[in-house]
Every structure is written in C-alpha cells, then in structure tokens.
C-alpha cells in the first residue's frame, strides 16, 4: 500500500489554484472524481479567458490593427506551445478544432469520405474505442463501402495485439486506436501499432483524449499520422480541441468545413484552400479557447508531465488498494497501475451504477455511471453499465478514502 505522504506532488498547493474545489455539494466538500469526462480549471486558465475578452478580444489573422495583432500573437503562441507540448515538428502540424470529436471527424471525412478510401479498403479499429472514434469511421464505412475490423481485448482489459497480425493486411488503409481507454484506463502500445500500420502503408490515427492530459506524449516517437485531443479534459476551456497531423498528411487531406479563414481564393463555384493548418480552421475560431488551452499547457508544464503521470499512478495504486477492501467491489482493467491511466471502472455487488452515483453524490462525491460513450466495450465486458472514478493532478489519497467510505455507505443503504 502506498503511504499517503509518499505522493511527490504538493497537491494542496495545486488544489488552491482550482476555485471550484473549495465548494460544497449538498452540504459536503466536493470530491471531484470525474476528470475523464471533463477536468476542472485552474485560476490561471480562467483568468486568461477573462483577460482575452477584457483586454484584446479581436478577430485573428486579418485585422490590421493593434488589438487584432495582439489576439493573433496570443492565438498563434498557443499553437506553438501545444506543438511543443506534444513534440510536433512544427506549429503547422497543429490545427484547432472544437473537440476530439471534431478532430476525428475531420480525419474520417478528409481522409476517408472525401479522400482516397475505396470499396474493398479496410479500417482496423478496436473494441475499446470511445463513440467519438467509432461513429466517424462508420460514416466512412457506409459512404465508401470500406470494411471495418475491430481488434479484441483480453478479459483483464488489454488489446489482443495478436489480432493485428491477422487483421492488418495489404487492404488496410487506416489503423485507429485510443492511446488510453476512458473506461479501463488501459494504455495501448500506440508506437508499436503505428509501426504495424506503416508496414502495410496504412496511416495510424491515435485518439489521445485520455492520454495527452495525463502523460508525456511525443507524436514523433509514436510516429502516428494523426492524433486528436480536447482542451476541456486537460485543464483548458470548453469548445477547443486539437487535430495533430504530420504536415504531409495535412497537406494531402481535404478540409471538413468550408468558410472564412480556411480559403485562399473564392470565386463563384470555385475555392482554393489556404495553407495548413489554416485549411482546417474554417470560420472564426474559438480564440479564447485556444489561448486558454495554451495557458493550461503552461500550467501542466510547470508541474511536469512526468510528475502528473507519476501522481496518477500512485493515486490509482492507492485507490485500487483502498477500494479492494470494500465488500463486493469489482474493478475492471489491468491490475498493474503503471500500465493504466487514472481511471477506475467498477461495479459494487449488484447495486446498479446509477444508484452508486446518486448515493455518492449525496456524500459530495462526483463519479460517473453509465456506458461512458463506449457501448461496444460494455457489450464486450458484458455489463449494462459501470461506475467510474477518475483522477487528475488535484486529487488526493484522502479523496480515494472518501470514495471507499462512500461505497460502504452505498452498501449500508442496500444492506
């Protein structure tokens, strides 16, 4: 068992930066254990958004005046920070979208529907994807007669890597996979998977919605072609996401949305696209969102992504230990905390996850229950739903203890 004092980060100092963490819920101090759904925001991020609106709000790129130049500098500055954060070769490889979901749809349309995929081509995905990395590919399947295959999973929650041996063939054009499961926390070997994809000339798409916020991610090391994540899950504002793509890939790809900003020339009936990444940023972007995400990246860098990761490993280990003492607790996923993110899905005897969540809510503890936008995975696990607790930089071992105590209360109610 991890001792509570072992935690390397000064979590109390971090907590002080998050105003929401001092609030109470139903009379109890809030224990927020739903960061996999959306994270809380430090004051610095909140202030950066207010500051943009209060001091230099203007449309970016086209304004020939001071305000517009300040806004453009901050917006493009955020792009640079994010590019560095994921080790992209250049800021041109980072396009702003509204979410992981938009980023993946952009790839599915641009590479799949409007792109090069043909009937007979194949897409290899997995059973543990979030709906946002399932449904866009179903669009491609339906529009282009492309065949989909899904890599399976062992009972303990690891991808069946051997499935790739048979599923990846010369027909494979896209291999898509989540780097970290939002239900099980499983961290998948995306570098290995990208390599397999490239061996047959397929591209590799990585859903990094649960990885970029929680661990160091290096797109050059992974060598993926595309990677997608959301700002709101990494201390950033809502409504901002990132589409990373290798510059050549972005250049080859058709844009999803047409409009202002993304064009170079428009005549009646004809348009020419702007350079990457602007080609993918049709319409006025979420400028405050991008700038706030840049500040979130600063904040995470200050802590250090290695420390973030380490903190979550320790906390997950501690929590798994504390929870395993609760009667009827059944946790899903790998036992080894070093192979998973800070996400614990579980059931408790035959108490329905909805009831668990409601009772914990009364205790001030916010967890999630349901299918977590991963119904195919629920079918694979053969459960209608699970309860899920997820951690971030501001969570403490004491909160894991309160969760365990809360679950005991659930058992009391249903005794």
């Amino acid at each position: 068992m991890v001792s509570k004092t072992k935690l390397l980060m000064n979590v109390e100092k971090i907590r002080a930066d998050f105003p929401i963490l001092s609030r109470t819920v139903r009379g109890k101090p809030l224990v927020y254990l739903d960061s996999a759904a959306t994270s809380q925001k430090p004051q610095a991020v909140i202030d950066s958004v207010s500051d943009f609106y209060s001091r230099y709000n203007a449309n970016v790129h086209r304004a020939i005046y001071e305000l517009g130049e300040e806004a453009t500098r901050a917006y493009e500055g955020a792009r640079e920070k994010i590019a560095q954060f994921i080790h992209a070769r250049s800021p041109n490889e980072v396009a702003f979208t509204k979410s992981t979901t938009e980023s993946i749809n952009t790839i599915a349309y641009g590479w799949g529907i409007k792109g090069k995929l043909r009937e007979g081509d194949e897409i290899v995905s997995t059973v543990m994807e979030h709906h946002s990395n399932h449904v866009p590919w179903f669009f491609v399947q339906d529009a282009k007669g492309v065949k989909m295959k899904w890599v399976g999973m062992s009972d303990d929650g690891a991808l069946k890597m051997e499935d790739y041996d048979t599923m990846i063939t010369k027909r494979t054009k896209v291999v898509t996979v989540t780097q970290c499961s939002n239900v099980l926390g499983t961290i998948n070997p995306v570098q290995e998977i990208a390599k397999r994809a490239h061996e047959v000339g397929a591209i590799c798409v990585v859903d990094a919605a649960q990885s970029v916020p929680h661990m160091p991610v290096d797109v050059q090391k992974i060598d993926c072609d595309f990677l997608a994540f959301s700002g709101h899950k990494m201390l950033g504002p809502t409504g901002i996401g990132v589409l990373y793509g290798k510059e050549e890939r972005l250049q080859e790809m058709e844009p999803l949305m047409g409009g202002g900003e993304m064009i170079r020339e428009v005549h009646l009936g004809i348009a020419k696209w702007n350079d990457v990444p602007f080609k993918f940023e049709g319409g006025t972007p979420n400028m405050a969102g991008a700038i706030g995400l840049g500040v979130a990246v600063d904040y995470l860098n200050k802590i250090g992504m290695d420390n973030v990761r380490q903190h979550e490993v320790e906390l997950t280990e501690y929590a798994l230990d504390a929870l395993s003492d609760v009667k009827g607790f059944h946790g899903f996923g790998l036992k080894d905390a070093s192979r998973r993110g800070g996400v614990i899905s579980f059931t408790l005897g035959d108490v329905h996850p909805h009831d668990i969540a409601s009772i914990l809510d009364v205790e001030g503890i916010a967890i999630r229950s349901g299918h977590h936008c991963a119904q195919p995975l629920m079918e694979r696990l053969n459960v209608p739903a699970t309860a899920r607790a997820s951690f971030y930089v501001y969570n403490t071992p004491e909160e894991a203890d309160r969760l365990a105590a809360g679950l005991r209360k659930v058992l009391d109610v249903f005794a």
């Binding site: 139903r26 108490v351 329905h352 996850p353 909805h354 009831d355 409601s358 009772i359 809510d361 009364v362 229950s369 349901g370 299918h371 119904q375 629920m378 459960v383 209608p384 739903a385 109610v413 249903f414």
Partner: protein, 146 residues
C-alpha cells in the same frame, strides 16, 4: 443524509429487491420494450386487457433501484384501471417526480417517489416503466429514452 433517505425510501429498496409482478405474461395482449441506453436499463411491460381495462400487468428486465421499484409499484398501481385512468395516473406521477404535484399523499404508495424530484437526472429512471406502459397501451413496440 436527509436527501439520501428521501430518495432511497424503505419501500423503494424493498420493491427493487423484491419486485412484484416480475415475470412474463403469457399470452399478453400488448407488450412494449422500454430502454434507457445511457444506463443500460431495459424493461418489457406486458398487458392483458379486458376491453378498456388493464386486467393484468407484469414486467421483466433490469435496471437501477429507482427504475425497478418504480416498475414494480407501477404494475400494482395500474392493475384493474382503465386506459384513461392509467394515463391520468402517469401524468400525476410525472408531476410528482418533477416536484410539481401539490398533494403527493393523494397518490398513495407512489408518493414515496417524491424524493426523486431532488435528483432531476433520476426522473427518467423513475418514469421509464411508465413510458413503457404508455407505449404498450398505444401499441408501440418499443421506446428509447435518454
């Protein structure tokens, strides 16, 4: 613990553990499947009608304590009622769980669901079986809520 007691009343827990009329009805005149894909809840409601009247009603399926106990108590409440009476009762039940019912006690045993109104997101749990009943009465095969 005030709200907790309000939500998980003794009777609700009892009905969720020992649901009444929890079986298939064969043959049934009308049947409907109600689902809430968000939480995986899923109930089938079976009806045997005598003219306009619900002669017998039963259900099968799985769900949370709120949805299961509500289904169980729903079957007790509507057995013997006419279609109109059942629909009227549903309206009042819906008002109850939405916190809009002026005289909860007049709803008899169903009044235990009053506490749901403090947990708006659970309203759908409490009313799933009722919506399914309605679908069966209207001979719609299935409904889905979210």
């Amino acid at each position: 613990m005030a709200d907790l007691k309000a939500l998980y009343q003794e009777q609700i827990l009892d009905h969720s553990k020992n649901p009444r009329n929890f079986h298939k009805l064969e043959p049934a005149d009308r049947t409907a499947l109600g689902r809430n894909p968000l939480c995986g809840d899923q109930f089938t409601v079976y009806l045997r009608m005598e003219g306009d009247r619900i002669a017998d009603v039963a259900f099968e399926g799985q769900g949370c304590a709120i949805s299961k106990s509500s289904a169980s108590m729903m079957t007790q409440a509507v057995k013997g009622k006419t279609e109109d009476e059942a629909e009227h009762l549903f309206d009042r039940f819906h008002d109850l769980v939405m916190g809009k019912e002026a005289d909860p006690d007049s709803l008899g045993k169903l009044a235990v669901f009053q506490g749901v109104s403090e947990f708006p997101i659970r309203v759908k749990c409490a009313s799933l079986s009722w919506h399914t009943l309605k679908a069966a009465l209207e001979s719609k095969g299935s409904i889905s809520m979210e």
